[in-house]
């Protein structure tokens, strides 16, 4: 039995251990209400999934936290500081990877540091470390179009890791890769959450994926979007990556979430 996971993470976070806090966040697009009074805490060092049917505003919430779009009202705090725009404390992993097609893997991974004015030799050393960490050693001089979808997302992940932000925002990062690659990614993500002391906010539309990787799952319901439930699958977190999917608690939670989402799926 594989029991190689790190020590169990604390299940009830202390108030001081909230990395990201959203308070009464609303977002209107003209007359359309996308988010209404959404309040949610994201514990430090843990992975929180935003899960819900399409159109429930989960990506909108993620981009508001990223500072990419402004909230109509309410506020977001990252480690106590109010968010007014993008900042070095948050890094983003994009659904479509968002790589520079004219730049090599090395430059792509180092690009976040390049924008921050880190000297070339220094940023390339950091980038090379993270390229190795995500398993792309040997592909430093390749270009994105020479890589598979899964490898491209590893580049996107390495870029987000290399800027050493405390919060990693992931917008359906595995939805554009094939099923087998996605499973590998999910396992790697568990190891990443255990090893890197970072807070992960993870948008997904896959119930199984959310239950598999999350310390905390926020179920968002649409029109207008609000948090209907927060589930903490604590019992299965220490079972080891190989055992989670056959754990009864895992199956129960998947079923329970599906039961509550079923009526919102057309």
């Amino acid at each position: 039995m594989s029991q190689t996971r790190a020590a169990p993470r604390s299940t009830v976070p202390l108030a001081a251990d909230i990395a990201v806090r959203t308070r009464d966040v609303s977002k209107h697009y003209g007359t359309v209400e996308a988010l209404r009074n959404l309040s949610l805490d994201f514990p430090r060092g843990q992975l929180t999934s935003l899960l819900g049917p399409s159109g429930c505003g989960k990506t909108t919430l993620l981009k508001i936290i990223a500072g990419l779009i402004p909230a109509t009202s309410g506020q977001i705090e990252v480690s106590g500081k109010t968010v007014t725009g993008p900042g070095p404390d948050r890094a983003f992993v994009f659904q479509d990877f968002a790589l520079l097609p004219w730049a090599s893997v090395l430059r792509n991974v180092a690009f976040g540091l390049e924008l921050r004015g880190v000297a070339r030799s220094e940023r390339e050393a950091i980038a090379e470390k993270y390229i190795r960490d995500v398993g792309l050693a040997g592909f430093e001089t390749s270009y994105p179009h020479q890589l598979s979808g899964g490898m491209r997302q590893r580049v996107g992940l390495a870029r987000a890791l290399s800027v050493n932000a405390e919060v990693l925002l992931m917008d359906e990062p595995f939805s554009a890769v094939d099923e087998q690659t996605r499973r590998k990614f999910q396992e790697d993500l568990l190891a990443l959450v255990a090893n890197e002391n970072k807070t992960f906010i993870f948008v997904t539309h896959s119930i199984e994926e959310a239950v598999y990787v999350s310390d905390q799952i926020a179920i968002l319901l649409p029109r207008p979007s609000r948090v209907s439930e927060v589930i903490r699958p604590t019992g299965i977190r220490d079972k080891g990556a190989d055992n989670i999917r056959r754990d009864p608690e895992y199956l129960d939670i998947v079923d329970r979430i599906w039961a509550s989402l079923r009526s919102y799926v057309e």
Partner: protein
Amino acid sequence: MTIFGFRLPGMSSLLLWGLVWEIVGRLGITFFVPPLSAVFATLFEIIGTPAFLKALSETAYAFGVGVTAAIAIGVPTGILMGRSRLLDELLLPWVNIFLSAPLTALVPVLMVLFGFGMTSIIITTALFAIWIIILNARAGVMQINRSLVEMARCFGASPLAAFTKIYFWSALPEILSGVRIGVIRAVKGVIIGQLLISIVGFGALFELYSANFLMTHFWAVLIVLFAMAFSISELLAYLERRVSYYAAKR
């Protein structure tokens, strides 16, 4: 194309058309078409003469300055138009009007404004080239991947860094094809400008040769111009292919 198992090099059909020209010329059907061989003989005769070299250098100068100005002004303008809704609303109608306008009709106005000299020719050249360069740079920026823009913002890109590291490169294939079409139009611009103003460069030579019915000279200069325009266009097409190999993959 292959004939009888032989692979013919590109444009070998030109030889055939050259032969037709030679025959028509030899038959003496019309005074205006001298034999091709005579034209080439004249070409090599005049190509080293001070008058020809002067015309060539003047044309190259007007062309170079005009095209450089068109690119230096057109590319940033196009990128800014693609970025800013306001600027786009303000400038786009003018760009479209000038793109389709018969600019030749403007040359007399330019002559009045800027005099009968090099300045007018340079401005004519730039005017022929700039509009399509603006439009293509604008189109290139507008098709940019949204998440690349968000990525740049997320990682804290300054507006200048976003401009030079994202927008420019992202739009580069479109910019280059705009520049290629613009340069071809500039060749027309520089010649039309010279013909209408006709006291400098090849315009002056054309005026001189046609006024004196020196048809072989006239054709020789024409061939030089056609060959130059074609070579420039092919060179740019080659550069464009080298850059856009990744464009299909983005």
